[in-house]
């Protein structure tokens, strides 16, 4: 007989072993991802860093080997079981790819042999695109920081070491790094949702479907990324002047932009839902201690009703601030966490064949996920790659995975004295980005805009 904690610990272990070696179960948030991944919704989010000089390829390759050895549970590929998907360690070591194509696209994680992340390089930019199947933004950032740090060390030591000593004739890593996949600390890849599962917690309240932008989609295999770089201190001051955190302040401006966009579409005669909601992902590690680099986040969903009349920015920020003060609590998240983790524990659910699970996954992804979200703003916080990398990294960026329903969303990361807000979009219209950045400019926060679509 297991106690509740023992049972939770057992469910939280994602690694398994059999006669062919290690393999991993998907974490509770990831199990739905393969079913909803398609040509447009690649599930890849992207972190990038602009360095002070062109990327030295041999050093980046060596750094990738080092980082991959530290995170062997990321060097996996997705496989289908009869009841669930699972992750199988790859025989091939990770490679460095060029960064010439569109970001986060043309990478089908369901295709056999496809790595679950890729490191790309172009000019002085290093990027890491990682599937949400293996990690959330925190896990991706941990890997990316390790990569940058290893790269900085490799660049600094280039003159003392033969540049390609660790590679065979085909440019693949040789030596111990090739087999460095033995996991050391299971907590690094635990399914922390299950660790903190509590039975008997009531389910979260049902939420209504909300407004989504009517903009037409851009061509498949394209993804627009538009970034604005702001002075972090100025943004902090603007937020503080309104009694809000940086996330709350930016969420307020973004929600106001979404309301304006909805108003414009409604004025144009398009049928639009009245509710506008903004997802704010929350790193659960702040509430439930875990070192897991797998997914371990949930979200808050401040929502406003456009039928109640025009909302001022101050009202929106206050609403978000009060909502966050109430809901950004462990008790609130326990309801979602227990519903999500509890569902996957039921024997009746576990015994359903995967192809049937996939059908329901798509339905639930809409009715309990994207259908309830107009857009999201994800603040990764400061990305500090360490002292060595800090000397060569000029700026960093972060953009979320593309979504054909939400179309446009924002991701925030800060580095040094700069805060970068990146919009990832599948929409033809750039009106939302324009509304957001022009509103910030009205507030005295002028962003330096750059865009990247791989063209």
């Amino acid at each position: 007989m297991h106690s509740g904690d023992d049972r939770n610990r057992r469910h939280a272990r994602t690694d398994r072993r059999d006669e062919r070696g290690a393999w991993y179960r998907l974490d509770n948030a990831a199990i739905i991802m393969p079913a909803v991944t398609d040509r447009r919704g690649s599930s890849l989010f992207r972190l990038w860093a602009e360095l002070d000089s062109p990327v030295v390829l041999s050093a980046l390759r060596r750094a990738l080997v080092e980082a991959s050895a530290r995170f062997p549970f990321f060097n996996v590929e997705l496989r289908r079981g009869f009841f669930w998907y699972y992750l199988e360690p790859r025989d091939e070591p990770p490679r460095v790819y060029d960064d010439l194509g569109p970001p986060c696209m043309a990478w089908d994680i369901r295709r056999r042999g496809t790595p679950m992340y890729r490191v790309r390089a172009r000019g002085s930019t290093v990027a890491c695109e990682m599937s949400h199947v293996i990690a959330d933004g925190f896990g991706g950032a941990e890997f990316f920081k390790a990569l940058l740090s290893a790269y900085a060390r490799a660049v600094a030591g280039m003159d003392e070491r033969p540049a390609d000593a660790d590679y065979d004739a085909e440019g693949r890593p040789a030596g111990p790094a090739r087999d460095a996949r033995r996991p050391d600390d299971p907590e690094l890849y635990e399914d922390a949702y299950h660790r903190y599962y509590r039975p008997g917690i009531p389910k979260p309240d049902r939420l209504p479907l909300v407004y989504h932008s009517a903009s037409r989609l851009i061509k498949p295999d394209r993804y627009r990324v538009l970034s604005g770089e702001l002075d972090l201190a100025a943004v902090r001051a603007a937020a503080k002047a309104r009694g809000a955190s940086v996330t709350e302040f930016l969420a307020g401006v973004y929600l106001e932009s979404l309301l304006r966009l909805r108003e414009a579409e409604a004025a144009g005669g398009a049928p639009v839902r009245p509710l506008v909601s903004l997802e704010i992902p929350v790193n659960l590690r702040k509430h439930f201690p875990s070192r897991s680099c797998r997914n371990f986040s949930l979200f808050l969903l401040p929502t406003v009703d456009a039928r109640l009349g025009p909302w001022t920015l101050e009202e929106l920020i206050e609403r978000i601030r009060l909502y966050m003060a109430m809901e950004n609590r462990p008790r609130s998240f326990l309801r979602h966490l227990s519903r999500n983790a509890g569902g996957g524990r039921r024997l009746a659910v576990r015994l359903v064949p995967l192809f049937i699970k996939n059908v329901f996954a798509r339905i639930f992804f809409y009715s309990l996920g994207e259908g309830l979200i107009t857009s999201f703003i994800s603040n990764l916080g400061p990305l500090e790659p360490g002292a060595e990398a800090g000397r060569i990294v000029r700026r960093v960026g972060f953009v979320g995975a593309p979504s054909a329903l939400i179309k446009t969303h924002a991701s925030v990361v800060s580095y040094g004295g700069a805060l970068t807000i990146s919009f990832g979009s599948l929409a033809r219209s750039r009106e939302l980005e324009r509304l957001f950045f022009s509103r910030l400019a009205e507030l005295g926060l002028r962003a330096r805009i750059s865009r990247y679509d791989g063209g």
Partner: protein
């Protein structure tokens, strides 16, 4: 230091960029493909137009032939029998043939063409039922069987088409579709004869085909790979 002119990365002493393949020191070339995979297919001038021309010609030939046959049959019936009688069956069949050719006529609107082709068999059955004497049978017998057959074949074809690797799974889809159609035929016939739905022989067919189909899918997707049973069947 040698810098790739496309990627802009330092490639050291490499002869060509290991990322994009551009020779070191070469002039910029057209993109050969991204990191993510091969480059997007380029449109080849002339090929699309030729294919369209062939389709239009085929559609014209089919329409003309069907029209000519219909006119001949109708005129023969009128001339020899003094009215349209037996020729109605032939005209209905020719109409169905023309509908089946609609995907050719409506190449740009594939869904409309496919829908027209799908309508052809039930339409032919309806026409035969209306032309022929006796108790009507289309609604209770012809329509459900025709729709089931089309649905089964369509879904099997769709599943096969969407498979990344085709093999035993195609047979499995076919058997599953056959089992489904058998069930509908059995149900429709029993309803026609007794006024109620009682499955008889089709149950045996289902019990025979579905396990075979399941095994074929299992063999195709699982046994052909190296995965272990523990991984495949973990719950």
């Amino acid at each position: 230091m040698s810098v790739c002119i496309r990627c802009g990365v330092d490639i050291g002493a490499e002869q060509s960029c290991p990322l994009c393949g551009t020779p070191a020191g070469a002039a910029p070339a057209a993109p050969a493909g991204s990191a993510a995979g091969p480059a997007a297919p380029v449109e080849r001038a002339g090929v699309g137009g030729a294919a369209k021309g062939r389709r239009l010609l085929a559609a014209e030939v089919v329409s003309f032939s069907v029209g000519l046959a219909a006119a001949t049959v109708a005129l023969a019936d009128l001339a020899l029998g003094g009215g349209l009688s037996w020729s109605l069956y032939a005209l209905a069949a020719l109409g169905a043939i023309w509908l089946l050719a609609c995907p050719l006529l409506l190449a740009k609107r594939a869904w409309i063409g496919a829908a027209a082709a799908a309508v052809a068999p039930p339409a032919l059955l309806l026409a035969i039922d209306l032309i022929g004497p006796g108790r009507p049978w289309f609604a209770t017998l012809g329509l459900p069987i025709a729709v089931a057959a089309e649905l089964g074949a369509g879904l099997a074809a769709l599943a096969s088409a969407r498979s990344k690797r085709r093999g035993l799974n195609v047979f499995a889809y076919g058997l599953t579709a056959a089992a489904f159609v058998s069930g509908v035929i059995d149900a429709a016939v029993s309803y026609r004869m007794t006024g109620g739905i009682r499955l008889g022989w089709s149950v045996i067919v289902l019990l025979a085909l579905l396990p075979v189909s399941a095994f074929l899918l299992y063999a195709h997707y699982r046994l052909a790979t190296n995965a272990t049973l523990k991984r495949l069947f973990h719950i």
